[in-house]
Amino acid sequence: MAVAPLGTRAAPTSATAGPPANLPGDRERDRDRDRIARRDRRGRRVVALTPAMLLIPATAVLLVIIGWPLVQLLVISFQEFGRAQVFGAPAPFVGFDNYADVLGDATFWEVLGRSILFAAANVILAMGLGTLVALLMTRLARALRLLVSVGLLLAWAMPALTAVVVWGWMFDTQFGVINYLLSQLPGVDMIGHSWLIDPLSFFGVATVIITWQSVPFVAFTIYAGLTQVPTEVLEAAQLDGANGFARFRFIVFPYLKSIFLVVTILQVIWDMRVFTQIYALQGIGGIREQTSTIGVYIYQVSVGSGDFAAGGAIAVILVVIMMAISAYYVRASIKEEQL
């Protein structure tokens, strides 16, 4: 209510300021004011429309390529959908039956728990090692840094499947180089040792492969961030007697907090839905039942055993979980920006 008199007072001034002006300076000022007024009155619409238009192509592509399959997935998860339906048989709707079956299945919870633990271990390892490598790179001489960068890039550029096959050979039970090298140690006989048959050891090998391929991304991103931390602040802290750890904890980390946040979210998402490495490793050895993570489990249920409806339900549940995790972090980072 307090605004109303202001508004009514403003209207007459702009109305009277227009027509009667004769001097050129006045006219110019009027045009200026006119433009400002137009922007004020229509501003919101003009500003809102252009970005929206610019977003249309990207949105359209996303809707067609990701949105449509997602809708299909959602629909299938409420249907009876097996191999016969893939080839054209009618698919009756069954309500929440698929979800009830999945949530009531102990295997699903086992797989989900295993996936979360596995992802947590991998994220912590990749973030820790990646940060250490990034810090190392800031201390290295140029030539050495180039060497480390090339090494990281090669590991990162290697296709996941190729990596698993190569690591699989190295860990091979009969002819693997790791068993051979370990057996060269006096008193050790590892020939014929299966690295994949024990689930814990299986995930150890999987962690080596996945961490080896995630560290480069983490290291490069954090290294890029580290170069942006102002050196004078670090020098000042050093003069004040802050040791390396304190400087990282109280200066570097707060500067790079948003980078750490984004990289962690990406790692969580990538490691939760890991598929290629586990699936390929299961073909080499190990017991599927004890080593499936959620991505592989969805594949086994839907494509492997032909129950696309149950697989769809699990996938939808996973999408919800992932969105909950990222929503928490996105909200946290928005709050951070507003402060």
Partner: protein
């Protein structure tokens, strides 16, 4: 306005590009001149000579058209066929394992070829395989070849240790144990944990089975007395006669064989060619050991050939084939006497029973004939392919190889198999 039209143009291009991927191939009904027929063969089983013959004959008979053979792997085949056959760029002719065929014939993935039955060979076709490829009276997938499992063995090792070719299953196991004992690091009987096909004879010979049909219900049978006796034999072989990886699979068994680490190797008959592959082949074998490569049919518990797994393939035309008439012509060539004789010459049992003698008369051929005479199939359920694809049997035998409790594991696996077979 210019900005807006650029944005609109961008959106239109994006939509058009996205649309391309989903577009149906034009003229999917018309028999295009100069069409390309894609044939999916699985594994290295089909010899190169047969592949060349198929391509040349087809292209001679259908001028302007081409035939492309795309080789697929046995692992994960069911998944791959499900996605490929339901898509718009489906292969035209596909090979499928005989125990996997029912999953696709009942789902409507294959073209009905009942009218071609007589032209393809009629009652001359292998009966068990015709059954595997049919639903009721409708015929969908023709037999391609059958391949019984035989035992390859190292005759040099036999001479060195003074062993004799076994006549019963117990003697076979004893021979394997003798080799394993005398030669540390050598598998008397090579038996990696995931190799469940080779465990079947032990179960069947002891009177057990995986599952039996009672009315419309499949009753799992791994916990029956016969099966348990067989499974205990399997465990004995795996733990006392084999040093193969407990969680390994049977693929690439020529590598340890050629490294001199295998006494007996039970494998499909065509595996001989993997062992004897030239040293410069993509998957090299050891042709220099041909002289010491012996072969016999796995002996049964009471002598005679054991009941082994009747492996083999069916061949079908995809229901989504863009050129079904041309695809049927390719199928006809693959079931012709000439083509099937080439398969016979390579140690595969031809799909036409009248060509049985093309397998030859050497030791391998005799072993194949003996093994095939008593071969058996897995449960004939459309859901059987799902049991195979789920990996439940691989997991089961890996745990047996590890020395787990047979009765507990059998009960657990029975429950899982029953769940899949009776949805």
């Amino acid at each position: 306005m210019r900005k807006i039209s650029i944005v609109a143009f961008g959106a239109a291009v994006a939509l058009a590009l996205a649309g391309c991927a989903a577009a149906e191939p034009a003229g999917s009904d018309g028999e295009a001149e100069g069409a390309e027929i894609r044939v999916w063969l699985v594994g290295a089983d089909t010899p190169q000579e047969a592949r060349d013959y198929l391509k040349e004959t087809f292209e001679d008979e259908n001028p302007g058209s081409t035939l492309v053979i795309e080789e697929q792997a046995w692992g994960g085949l069911v998944d791959k066929l499900t996605t490929a056959l339901s898509g718009s760029d489906s292969p035209d002719v596909v090979e499928v394992g005989n125990t996997q065929a029912a999953a696709f014939t009942t789902a409507g993935a294959f073209l009905d070829i009942t009218d071609e039955y007589d032209a393809l060979g009629g009652d001359d076709l292998l009966p068990g395989f015709v059954e595997a490829g049919s639903v009721g009276d409708a015929f969908f997938a023709a037999p391609y070849y059958s391949g019984a499992r035989v035992v390859f063995y190292d005759t040099a090792l036999y001479e060195e240790l003074g062993l004799e070719v076994p006549t019963t299953l117990d003697e076979y196991i004893a021979n394997g144990q003798a080799i394993a004992e005398a030669k540390p690091g050598v598998s008397g009987i090579y038996f990696p944990g995931q190799d469940w096909y080779n465990a079947l004879p032990y179960i069947w010979e002891n009177g057990g089975d995986i599952a039996t049909l009672d009315g419309d219900e499949w009753v799992p049978a791994l916990s029956t007395d016969g099966s348990i006796a067989g499974l205990e034999m399997v465990q004995e072989v795996m733990t006392t006669a084999s040093v193969a990886p407990k969680d390994g699979n049977e693929a690439e068994a020529q590598v340890p064989y050629c490294a001199g680490q295998i006494g007996h190797l039970s494998a499909p008959s065509w595996f001989k060619w993997s062992i004897l592959a030239p040293a410069d082949a993509e998957a090299p074998g050891c042709p220099e050991r041909e002289a010491s490569l012996g072969v016999f049919a796995l002996p049964g518990l009471d002598g005679g050939p054991a009941q082994v797994f009747a492996g083999g393939s069916n061949i079908a035309v995809s229901a989504n084939s863009a050129n079904p008439e041309l695809a049927k012509k390719a199928l006809a060539i693959m079931l012709s006497d000439e083509y099937q004789s080439i398969l016979g010459g390579a140690g595969l049992v031809p799909a036409l029973t009248s060509l049985g003698d093309t397998v030859g008369t050497d030791a391998t051929a005799q072993a194949i004939a003996q093994a095939a005479s008593n071969a058996k199939l897995t449960p004939a359920s459309p859901a059987w392919a799902e049991v195979e694809a789920s990996g439940v049997l691989q997991d089961f035998f890996v745990k047996i190889a590890q020395g787990g409790d047979v009765a507990d594991l059998a009960a657990e696996t029975d429950a899982r198999i029953a769940e899949i077979l009776n949805p």
